[in-house]
Amino acid sequence: MPSLKDVKMKIVGVGKTKQITKAMNMVASAKLRGAQNRIERFRPYAAKYRQVLAELASKVEGNCHPLLTEHEEKKVCVIVLTTSDRGLCGSFNGNLIAAALKLAKQKTADGMTVKFICAGKKGRDTVSKSQYEVILGYGDRMGRVDFPLANTVAQEVIHGYETLAIDEAYLVYGEFVSMGQQPPRTLQLLPLQAPENSGEEEANAGPRCEYLYEPNEEKLLAELLPSYVKVQIYRGMLDTACSEHAARMAAMDNATRNCNEMVRMLTLLYNKTRQAAITSDLIDIVGGAEALNG
């Protein structure tokens, strides 16, 4: 049986851990709100971009742009992996990394060399310990994701694709579905799949009249396609950042609950120990008194 003092100290310790997890939960929820706002603000841009690009792509015939054409020989595959910088967010990072490594394994089996671009410390650290090469790694950036970051990553990928150094590119990110769900998603970045207008958008757009294009459709498409890669990467990063906070909130909520449970069990143990001590003291006293009475 542990001593009373030991149990008491353990209760205090668990209580302190609980304070920390509770604080982390609240910090994560505040950050989540910020991240969600950013996604909200990005949404009109992304939606408009998609719409315009789909419109354009439907007008231009054939695979005329290098980013749309598949390379005949597929040798190098790049995986852009976005993770968080910090742990303590449950299985979130683990899931993302597992998804990326699974894809990498599959691509290696197809005879391709897999290279990684990592945004987020957790992913970078894990991947650099594996057998895969990390071309670019960004740590400590996921807390303040901005468009220039997405831009640099996209430029690296696009440049590689155009110079035939890269034959395929994928993005792995944590999609923010809801507070309870942040599944890892894999998205093919290159060769680009031109977005298609969903029927719903078409209906909302109203009657379509002839568009004036300046310069012509092909040139515009060539202008806009590279940026679409940036838009997708940025979206992935924003989603990952948002999901991270949601995952951390859930994890910390769990931890706080476990702390409560532990404190309850320890208090029970404390009381039991105390009572056992009293009982044994009483036995001693009674025993002593009996001995005196003889």
Binding site: F147, A205, L220, V231
Partner: protein, 133 residues
């Protein structure tokens, strides 16, 4: 007289959302103006100044390329970065200009000339616009 709804959007924020009388844009093939009830059009933009007039007042907006889409009386300008002239950070633009100039003067192997030139141009236009306000 009907107005044109102008929306200038960047990935991070909506810079302008206003009903205006006239918009002048730095198109890839030259400046062009858009009045209300313009026919649907889509045009690429280059780095430059976008001007819109509302009730006789001019307002300048910096845009770093992107494109403009006019449809059904709504003009959407999508740019990677855009700022209203009042919000331009002159000190930052000056610093960016100096940096770009330095990079261009080095002309080393590693210097990405195209990017440095674009950065220089952005900085110059920003500084010009900041003086207009």
């Amino acid at each position: 007289m009907s107005k044109l709804q102008l929306e200038v959007v960047t990935p991070d924020t909506k810079v302008v959302s206003e009903a205006v009388d006239y918009v002048s844009c730095p198109g890839i093939e030259g400046e062009f103006g858009v009045l209300p009830q313009h026919v649907s059009m889509l045009s690429g933009l280059k780095i430059g100044a976008l001007r819109y007039d509302n009730d006789g007042k001019h307002q300048y907006v910096f845009v770093s390329g992107g494109f403009a889409d006019v449809n059904n009386g709504v003009m959407s300008v999508l740019a990677e970065s855009a700022e209203i002239a009042q919000d331009i950070d002159t000190a930052r633009a000056q610093a960016a200009k100096a940096r770009a100039e330095q990079r261009l003067s080095e002309r080393g192997e590693k210097v990405d000339v195209v990017r440095a030139e674009a950065a220089l141009q952005r900085a110059v236009v920003r500084i010009q616009l900041a003086q207009l306000r």
